[in-house]
């Protein structure tokens, strides 16, 4: 609604200003574009890839049967160490074929959950993909330049990633959320039945 209003107002201002021309036109146009981008940025849910499409891509079209692990209190205690809190829901779904496991996890960035797909192969992260992003800021975590940093990382006995993941200024909470989920995905690969 707000972005529609912003667009409507911006369009009217654009027409009025454009018809007159003037020296400040360039500055005005820049401000207008920023206003519209701001409206769109806060517009809500961005689906980068549907979770079902992610699984189909990972397993080449033949997605294995869904498996689930009920997180016991000891699992939740470990997850709390990795993520900062226990995981909801208490049943975690995953898909496994050979030594490849895919899991779709959610964690709140600032106020909204970030849906992320992980592929773990041989105890190392093979792929990270932001599937659905709902926050108004911090969507830079969906960029490949960020997600590819996780490739090849494994979980150390201390519960840390084996490689440092560089943050993104302005997306600290989202980076923290995705990094925490990566640790959970690696932990899940260890404890989930084969």
């Amino acid at each position: 609604m707000s972005s529609t209003l912003a667009w409507d107002t911006a369009s009217r201002l654009w027409s009025a200003r454009w018809s007159r021309g003037g020296a400040g036109c360039g500055v005005f146009r820049t401000l207008l574009v920023l206003l519209c981008l701001h409206g769109w940025a806060g517009a809500g849910v961005t689906v980068y890839q549907k979770p079902s499409a992610f699984l189909a891509e990972v397993f080449g079209g033949s997605v294995p049967a869904t498996k689930a692990i009920r997180l016991s209190s000891s699992h939740q205690a470990q997850i709390k160490r990795l993520l900062g809190h226990s995981y909801r829901p208490s049943m975690l779904r995953y898909w496994r074929q050979g030594d490849t496991m895919a899991v779709i996890l959610e964690e709140v960035g600032k106020v909204e959950p970030i849906t992320t797909g992980f592929v773990v192969k041989g105890g190392r992260i093979a792929r990270v993909r932001i599937l659905i992003y709902r926050e108004s800021h911090g969507m830079e975590v969906a960029r490949t330049s960020f997600t590819k940093q996780f490739r090849g990382t494994e979980l150390s006995p201390a519960g840390r990633l084996s490689r440092r993941v560089d943050g993104i200024s302005g997306a600290t909470l989202s980076v923290r959320a995705v990094t925490g989920l990566a640790r959970v995905a690696l932990y899940l690969d260890r404890v989930a039945p084969k």
């Binding site: 979770p51 049967a65 869904t66 689930a68 829901p89 779904r93 849906t115």
Partner: protein, 258 residues
Amino acid sequence: MSGSARGPGPWKGRWWVRRWHRQLGVVFALPLLWLAVSGLLLRHADRFGLHDRQVRSAWLLQRYGMIPEEAPRGVTAGSRRVVEWGENLFLGDALVQESGVLIGAVPKGRDLVVALEGYLLVYDAGGMLVDQLGDASLPGTPLEALGVDGDGAVMVRTDGKVARIGDDFLGHAEAPAAEVTWSEVTALEEEAIEALEPRLAEQAGISYYRVLLDMHSGNLLGTVTKWAVDLAAIGIIVLTVMGLGLVFRKPRTGTGEG
């Protein structure tokens, strides 16, 4: 001294200032009083317990967007009721973290299955989220309807097709639509709405301090009050400058002629 206080001459300017000072003083007396009183209360908020006391007024909560404008919708599943109100989802009287467009709810043994447009949620008897089936675990999304068949199996409809969800919620298979009792979401009656308002108020956690601060700064009622506070502040600045001018400005001694 030539000229009178109201006539032409050295006192003319001062008379004009005095007159405006008096009139502006009357106009801005109440806003100034309000700003002073509310400022004092804010300074001593701890003493008055303004931080601890929470707002309960539905009208005020509405101003803060804590009570959604949309009418709440609900469904009864067994002995439990699920309500969607704006972006809030209630299980009985408890507010849960999940949110979305409510499609239906059905009991499954001791658990409760709730369908939102994009998810199927399973809650245990204590209201804990046990399982969450998203796009990857469902026959499709958005979900259009949720129901149970004659055997008590959970059924969903998406894209016009009906599917039976496995008892362990790990699989699904297409099924005939016959004998399915679909869950129906309906508008909530006034009494039920009133019962849920205090829950939203608790969750909102808006203190009297915040309300007073927003009233002091003019943020509570939107643009009009923001402008009113700005105007009052400008008026007070003008009054102060005028007052200082009246006190310190010396009367001119001559007429300025020749």
